[in-house]
């Protein structure tokens, strides 16, 4: 570090008259600069948010067209996988069964978000698409109805929408309305806890 007094005070005893310019070391001590550099790096690394957020586009049907909807053909329950999002990241589902059915209560199953839910969707997708032909527009028969309940979180909704992208389920609907039959089937599962 202290590289200043190298060969200092020599020169005098030699006595050959010539005064040479003292050769100074051109070496600069970089240590403080490096210190500062790394300090700033640390600061900026901590201050930076590296992963840029991504955006997921969603389209919602126009509210004003509600009246026309009655003219469309109702979905056949056998082609529909209905997902209910409950509290604590639970997902309840009815696979090809309508909530009005007598055995709805018995066929309501529970799964979890993530890989488990994905398996459920894939299984249902395969089953329904194999049993039903594509419609005249070339769409697959499989339809997912997503029903978030009041106890579910925003994350649950995004997760399920993401599953739709992962399983390439093209036809899905986000419905925040629960029919009386569905409320009965779900029972206490969707009651707020307080």
């Amino acid at each position: 570090m202290a590289a200043i007094e190298e060969s200092g005070g020599g020169g005098h005893g030699k006595g050959d008259g010539k005064v040479r310019g003292k050769k100074m070391s051109t070496r600069v001590d970089m240590t403080p600069m490096v210190d500062l550099g790394f300090l700033l790096i640390t600061f900026f690394m901590l201050a930076t948010t590296m992963s840029k957020p991504t955006a997921m586009s969603v389209f919602f049907p126009d509210k004003q067209e509600d009246k026309k909807e009655e003219q469309t053909e109702p979905l056949k329950a056998s082609k529909v996988l209905t997902l209910f999002m409950g509290a604590n990241d639970d997902v309840y589902y009815l696979d090809g069964v309508s909530a009005d059915d007598d055995n709805a209560q018995a066929s309501l199953k529970t799964t979890r978000h993530g890989a488990e839910l994905r398996d459920v969707i894939f299984a249902s997708q395969r089953r329904i698409n194999a049993a039903n032909p594509k419609d005249d527009k070339g769409n697959e028969a499989f339809v997912v109805v997503i029903k978030p309940t009041d106890v579910s979180s925003y994350k649950n909704m995004v997760d399920v929408l993401d599953e739709m992208a992962i399983t390439k389920s093209k036809r899905y609907a986000l419905v925040d309305f629960l029919s009386d039959a569905e409320k009965k089937v779900l029972g206490d599962k969707i009651k707020p806890k307080n």
Partner: protein
């Protein structure tokens, strides 16, 4: 006496290369740094979507973990114009100082009647105020739709993005959605973190 000691040189490492690397990294981090804003802390869910959130012309509606709603528009002139628009419809007026102060806020979450007192506070106090969130109640008063309208009037090209916290409850999202749909907005983006698609997933 006769022992010749080797001249002691302090061990000298050449720092130049290290400095080069350090400053290269430093430059990189300075360039890429986007600073955390003083917005509410929101941890967004993740999705496999690859679309990046656009940097400009963006209107962000945030829902924090308590279900409070915040609103933010990106450019300063737009913010001022938006404030002018809302002042007009609500029959209040803002001074130039208040407008200037409003224009530097990236987002806010206050009912309109609390906005003026808030803007009159000193800067350090403004940050410490607990913002109650913009009223979005679908049955009672809802001001979010007014803000969205004012912002779109100021800049019709604004894209709408919704940024919700993981544990925000779904009914809150429903309220926000109702506000947007009352303005005939049916297309918008949800801001999410990025996540790797599961193995075997193909576009």
């Amino acid at each position: 006496m006769g022992v010749v000691k080797p001249k002691k040189h302090p061990p000298h490492t050449d720092m130049t290369a290290m400095t080069d690397v350090a400053f290269l990294l430093l430059t990189f981090f300075i360039m890429t740094a986007t600073f955390k804003t003083n917005d509410a802390e929101i941890t967004t869910p993740t999705s496999i979507s690859q679309i990046k959130v656009p940097d400009d012309e963006l209107m962000i509606i945030s829902i924090d973990k308590d279900g409070k709603v915040y609103f933010g528009v990106d450019a300063k002139p737009t913010r001022i114009e938006m404030l002018d628009n809302i002042a007009q419809t609500k029959g209040i007026s803002f001074s130039d100082v208040e407008k200037a102060k409003f224009s530097i806020q990236t987002s806010f979450g206050l009912p309109i009647n609390q906005l003026k007192p808030w803007l009159n506070m000193p800067k350090d106090q403004m940050a410490s105020v607990k913002q109650p969130g913009i009223p979005t109640d679908s049955t009672g008063t809802s001001e979010l739709a007014d803000w969205v309208y004012a912002a779109r009037k100021a800049n019709p090209g604004l894209r709408i993005a919704l940024k919700g916290d993981n544990i925000a409850k779904f009914p809150k999202f429903k309220d926000v959605l109702a506000n947007l749909q009352s303005q005939n907005i049916n297309k918008f983006s949800l801001i999410t973190g990025s996540e790797d698609a599961p193995a075997g997933f193909k576009e």
